[in-house]
């Protein structure tokens, strides 16, 4: 097997599976075949990735360039389709294919239960396409190709979030996901244009050359170099995809999609693409310290900001979503302070334990038919395996040693501390918040008594409808406040079935990296760091790998444990009332968090109401109708009016006509005499 073939296999296997499902299967009834095809493709891709890993390890500088085709050629513009495989690529490939494969296996059972009508080949087609696109993105050797697949993963996200398109909330969430990320993509696209105009290339390696960066540093406008603008644009795209503030609003809503989708796309892979992109382009960012500062600040702020919203969310998937945003912020923070290895180390770890958490949430929801934690509880008894897996992943997320999360988080904290105390402070608070909401989630879900699942939720919802119209509106609007109800399938809740093997096997598999992946880069063995930095980036980045600081590790562990303890006091021991906590300071902090800092309302108000309803857009539409078009119609009316006036002149009276002749003679003569 050659590298070229392997690279093609990685990218091609899911693509073939996509095409096979689209053109080879019937829309309904052949979902089992589709599922198997997809899973098989993922497996092939995984093996190929593994092969590539071995090849990269063997290659000098861990770099391979197996493929480059000229896709389009116009004048001086060459658009290419090419693969470049280096240590970073291959790491990402393995993460993506691993999680993908496990999620597909999980999906086969999960989706069968969610879709009674057996017409969900569409789901697998989308998943295949997503994986192919994601892999294409990672493999790309030029930014144009990155953008190409960047948009395609966005499309798949849109299609999968809106998978249950009959639900208004899902349809709205899909649209929101696409639009918000597209706003970020504008930045990305403009960055591409800036880069191309100044350097004449999209090739990543050429962009890293001195000529390119010199050209970019030489020109600029509005007081910033072209390079700063370009990197800022790239970050804007990354912020959209990775749900960084203020473009984070789509990700919680994206939980409307099927849970495996959340696990794969909105936790492990696509949302990490932003981090990947910034990391990949970090050599350019290094020449733009202002952009780096922005990245770090936004990252740090997003981390704490999202974690705080996670504290109060009652929907288990939303808690995870906020957690994802928060952790992505962490990674951005790391990139912003130049901790390249730490960021990707965390990305890797996070991918595994977050995927696990989502799949766990899926299993929970699968049992209770709701994701609203208010109606869960006591699930440890019925879902013991799931409980243990989720527990491990949660602790990993909380950063408890020696689980994987601990190691990478620690590296980020160290880097942040070195860069700025403020950033470090934010990161540290985030650690506390993370630990708190994780444990809260565990208690609400698995501890205590079962609170009735979806059936209870329906009763509550009906009651709310009776007592206040707001509840119904909320449910109908579906912008994330209402819980997930039965997905329209109507199968009974708490159906007593025990855990299905196919559902917990992926969890069990994922637990391994969740526990162990931290060992890839520990004070004892920094293999990953070496691996990741032994290619071109090394030359521009230098060594940012900090020595292990036991004091810092102890501090972070203590903060995490504090968070756990507080959560235990509130939800486990119930020594502190959650209600009282919520009512603190007049209940304002709780309400602000509950309303997600009002960002949704702000956007709704700014865009939908102001611009759309009364403002610019409405004004333009009226302008078009009553000014632009009216001028045209007015010209017609004036002509017709003139015609009418001329008609009245044509009075039919002979002498009037005669008078016209005489006047004509007089006037013409007069003008002639005046002229001469």
């Amino acid at each position: 097997m050659t590298v070229e073939l392997a690279a093609w296999l990685v990218f091609g296997a899911p693509l073939v599976s996509f095409l096979a499902i689209v053109f080879g299967t019937r829309p309904s009834g052949q979902h089992i075949l589709s599922g198997r095809l997809t899973a098989l493709a993922m497996l092939v891709a995984w093996f190929a990735s593994l092969y590539l890993l071995t090849q990269v390890l063997a290659a000098p500088g861990f770099e391979l360039h197996p493929i480059s085709y000229r896709w389009l050629e116009v004048g001086s513009l060459h658009l290419e389709f090419g693969f470049a495989i280096d240590s970073l690529t291959v790491t990402m490939l393995l993460v993506v294919t691993t999680v993908s494969f496990l999620v597909q296996v999980y999906s086969m059972e999960y989706m069968a239960n969610e879709n009674q009508d057996k017409s969900y080949s569409r789901y697998y087609a989308n998943m295949s396409l997503f994986t192919a696109s994601m892999l294409g993105l990672v493999l790309a050797d030029n930014l144009f190709q990155v953008y190409f697949f960047w948009e395609l993963v966005g499309l798949c996200s849109y299609l999968l979030v809106g998978y249950w398109f009959m639900r208004p909330s899902a349809a709205a969430a899909a649209k929101k996901a696409f639009l918000v990320t597209r706003i970020g993509d504008v930045g990305f696209l403009l960055a591409l244009l800036v880069l191309f105009v100044h350097t004449g290339t999209f090739n990543i390696h050429e962009l890293f050359g001195h000529e390119a960066s010199d050209a970019l540093l030489k020109s600029g406008f509005l007081g910033m170099t072209a390079l700063s603008w370009a990197t800022l644009g790239i970050f804007m795209g990354a912020a959209g995809k990775s749900a960084q503030f203020p473009l984070h609003v789509w990700l919680p809503d994206a939980m409307e999609g099927p849970t495996p989708v959340s696990a794969l796309i909105h936790a492990a892979t696509m949302v990490a693409a932003g981090v990947y992109l910034v990391g990949r382009m970090l050599p350019l960012f290094h020449h733009a310290p202002d952009t780096m500062a922005v990245v770090a600040t936004i990252g740090g702020f997003t981390a704490i900001f999202a974690a705080s919203m996670g504290l109060v969310a009652s929907d288990i998937k939303r808690v995870m979503a906020y957690s994802t945003i928060s952790q992505l912020g962490y990674m951005m923070l790391a990139l912003g302070v130049g901790a390249y290895v730490a960021a990707f180390f965390h990305l890797l770890n996070h991918a595994f334990f977050k995927a696990l958490l989502f799949l766990g949430a899926g299993s929970v929801g699968h049992y209770t038919d709701t994701f609203n934690m208010r109606y869960m509880g006591g699930l440890q008894k019925v879902l013991p395996i799931t409980f243990w897996m989720v527990l491990i992943a949660s602790l990993s997320l909380a950063g408890i040693p020696p689980l994987s999360g601990f190691w990478s988080k620690d590296e980020i904290l160290g880097a942040a501390l070195q860069a700025s105390p403020l950033l470090f402070g934010m990161a540290l608070v985030t650690v506390f918040l993370t630990a708190f909401y994780v444990i809260r989630m565990l208690y609400l879900t698995f501890a205590g008594e079962y609170r009735g699942g979806a059936a209870a939720e329906r009763v509550a919802l009906a009651a709310a409808t009776v007592y206040s119209g707001a509840g119904a509106a909320q449910a109908g609007e579906g912008h994330g406040h209402g819980g997930h109800d039965t997905h329209g399938t109507g199968h009974g809740n708490g159906h007593g079935s025990h855990e299905v093997a196919i559902l917990f096997i992926p969890l069990v598999v994922l637990v391994v990296p969740s526990v162990l992946s931290g060992l890839l880069n520990t004070p004892m063995w920094d293999g990953l760091a070496k691996f990741l930095t032994t290619h071109t980036i090394e030359t521009t980045l230098g060594e940012h790998h900090l020595p292990f600081d036991p004091g810092l590790a102890a501090l972070s562990t203590f903060v995490a444990l504090a968070g756990i303890a507080l959560a235990h006091q509130v939800y486990g021991a119930q020594a502190i009332s959650a209600e009282r906590l919520g009512a603190m300071l007049g209940g304002w902090p709780y309400r602000i968090l509950q309303n997600k800092y009002g960002m949704d309302y702000l956007y709704e108000f700014l865009i939908v109401k102001l611009a759309f309803g009364q403002g610019l857009v409405a004004g333009l539409a009226l302008f078009d109708k009553y000014v632009v078009d009216a001028v045209v119609n007015g010209a017609g009316s004036v002509s017709r009016a003139a015609g009418g006036a001329l008609r009245t002149l044509q009075s039919g009276q002979l002498q009037g006509y005669g008078m016209a002749i005489v006047l004509g003679v007089l006037i013409i003569t007069a003008t002639m005499m005046i002229r001469s």
């Binding site: 008609r647 009245t648 044509q650 009075s651 039919g652 009276q653 002979l654 002498q655 005669g658 008078m659 005489v662």
Partner: protein, 104 residues
């Protein structure tokens, strides 16, 4: 006293033309309008014959031209009168002011 020359006749012609024109524009009775048209043509004829008298080599041409104008006047008048009869038959009057079936 200035010697009578071409200009005198031309001015007379102009005055007569002006009077005829006034008649065409102001007579309410169609017959009156036609009479005024005849005045117009007569004024032209004065000019023609005067030019024939005073301008070198134009003598015969001027008179011939005038003869044709008279012929035209006669022919036009006959058709005009026939039309008047037709109008009179239809309306019982030959008032040009009210002949406005065609307008707009």
């Amino acid at each position: 006293m200035i010697e009578i020359g071409l200009s005198h006749y031309m001015v007379l012609s102009a005055v007569l033309f002006s009077i005829g024109l006034y008649g065409v524009l102001s007579r309410r009775n169609a017959v009156g309008v036609l009479m005024s048209v005849e005045l117009l043509l007569n004024s032209v004829n004065i000019a023609l014959i005067a030019i024939g008298r005073y301008v070198g080599g134009a003598g015969a041409t001027g008179q011939v031209f005038a003869l044709f104008v008279i012929t035209v006047a006669a022919a036009e008048a006959s058709v005009a009168l026939a039309l008047l009869i037709a109008i009179y038959r239809d309306r019982g009057a030959v008032d040009v002011e009210s002949a406005t079936a065609l307008q707009g």
